[in-house]
Point group: C2
Chain length 348, copies 2
């Protein structure tokens, strides 16, 4: 059993820096595209056998130190009662957009083993198929990031509708966020109960806020989830690490450090040692190579890997990752090379 | 003559905090929409009388302390020989996209008084019509931000083509950037010669880089422009302040401080006092209210204005602004209220 990733999450000594890659089960892999050619994206998410198949691909191909469940952060939106569609090259469409009392009222807090059973089935299947090779990471969107999609009805440029709800009708936003937070809390518990050995909370859009707004309208809900999960795990005698990833972290690190997470995901827009210093140094950081630097020649990638490893060494622990998901056009051989480099260059 | 803005740019004592607003001549104003109803966006940019008319509107309506020329950062792209179109609700289209030796080779470094004379005519007209009421700010896109539009052919999500050129063909990128930098340098000189009393360099997309990439592929060209402008101004006995605005500044402040600019524009994703501290405190900062906080009730806007003023006071000088452009849906009465508040609350 390769438990280097889990040890690093807990800040324990490791013999090399573990690595996994956000969106490692993705379109840059021909093996993934072969599966995707047979089923649409949402069908893949909802078919445990297919989700498990693509989750396992990067373990064999890249030799990463952790598997992350293939799924989508918008799955809970559909389970709450909002329509969810993905159209080729267009991004997600969620309808109706959640913008008034009535649409908020109609949303439910679903039982995950009822409405999202396929996710937990995939987790159970994967734990069996991995049989201890590497740990399995579960995940969910943070409440704020999830809410932006539900309010905007998809992706957004400046999150106008989301901020308008927050600024013009804060009571409605709070009622809505309480439902989203309850849903995500139960969803993460269900993933852990099904066998997830770590969980990552993705707050991709948290960085659109000023620090004070981030604290009040995004972070407070993440804190509730983490506190709730930790109490629940304690009562079960479990200690599953929680990773908190925020996109565009640089202005918010002093806030993020109070989240209660075990590991802090850092995007590439800041040097990892500066980020670690502002997080308090006695923390475990995850990151933070620019995903697009995988288009560099391999010798230049190696220079950057060395730099990230050197900077990451200033924290108590470091899990190597990109600063955001790997993009579909990335040469897969460079991703394979990246994992090899991190293992080789960090060996003690 | 209200020279509070120019004094603040130079770090001199002022009796209140001056304010202007990025995109203050814009669609949130009914008076702007009335002009825009008669001419398309590019025609407005190219007709000095119309550009001057909308430039002056916010001076009368908002009582801001500076006028900023109505124009677009993509004007120099067309002058260099690339096709430029704006379509309602679609963003700019530039063709052909600059991605290979041939398209780079075909670009010229234009004489601004020849190919962009309408801009300088607008500046000359405005100086006459303003007759000293408030100073006039000229502007240009930073070379990197300008280059992203030229390479992508418009706006972009992850700037894949831009980063690919940088990482896969750095020599071509450099050749291209040298042309863009020369064009923008001459363009800013021409604006100053025509009467611009301050200039702002917009590096809206600078924040997509890691600090090292930002330094090498964006900041180095801005430094060349500022150094060149300062020498040229010295030889003419002029001291027009240069403002450098970067979107998503938070991870890059230690780099930005070396730019040579007189004033540093800060976006809203970081507290202004933290930004000032990392810039060195003995600097003049400009910013940084979240544009969407103008949807708050007026009493809540006032709380935020107080907070920004308090934080801005830690720098040598502070020019109030939003952290990015005002959005079209903003209630204009809240923008009027903002300017009144800044003046009232900062009065010494």
């Amino acid at each position: 059993m390769n438990d280097t990733f889990l040890k690093a999450c807990r800040g324990e000594d490791v013999s090399y820096t573990p690595i996994w890659i956000m969106r490692q089960a993705g379109r840059y892999l021909p093996e993934y595209r072969a599966v995707r050619g047979k089923a649409d994206f949402l069908t893949m998410c909802k078919t445990p056998g297919l989700a498990a198949e693509v989750t396992l691909q990067p373990i064999d191909i890249l030799k990463v130190d952790a598997a992350i469940l293939f799924s989508d952060i918008l799955i809970p939106c559909e389970a709450m009662g909002q329509g969810l569609e993905f159209h080729e090259g267009k991004g997600p469409l969620l309808a109706p957009a959640i913008r008034d009392e009535e649409t908020v009222r109609r949303l439910s807090v679903p039982d995950p083993e009822d409405k999202m059973r396929f996710v937990m089935d995939a987790v159970r299947l994967l734990r069996k198929e991995l049989s201890g090779r590497v740990p399995l990471i579960g995940f969910a969107g943070a409440p704020f990031t999830t809410a932006t999609y539900m309010i905007e009805g998809g992706t957004s440029k400046n999150f106008l509708n989301t901020k308008r709800m927050i600024y013009e009708n804060p009571a409605l936003y709070k009622t809505f966020m309480d439902k989203v937070t309850a849903t995500i809390t139960e969803y993460l518990k269900a993933q852990i109960a099904a066998g997830a050995q770590a969980v990552q909370i993705f707050d991709t859009w948290g960085g659109i806020f000023s620090p004070a707004d981030f604290r009040e309208h995004a972070l407070s809900y993440v804190k509730m989830i983490i506190r709730n999960l930790k109490e629940w795990m304690l009562s079960r005698g479990e200690t599953v690490p929680v990773i908190y990833f925020v996109g565009e972290t640089a202005g918010l690190l002093e806030e993020i450090r109070t989240s209660g997470a075990d590991v802090f995901g850092v995007d590439w827009r800041i040097d990892l040692d500066s980020a670690a210093a502002r997080l308090g140094n006695d923390v475990v950081v995850q990151g933070n190579l620019d995903p697009l630097s995988l288009f560099l020649p391999v010798n230049k990638i190696e220079e950057r890997v060395k730099d990230v490893l050197r900077r990451g060494a200033s924290a108590r622990g470091h899990i190597f990752n990109l600063g955001h998901g790997v993009v579909p056009q990335t040469p897969p051989e460079n991703v394979v090379a990246l994992v090899e480099m991190v293992h080789r260059l960090s060996k003690k």
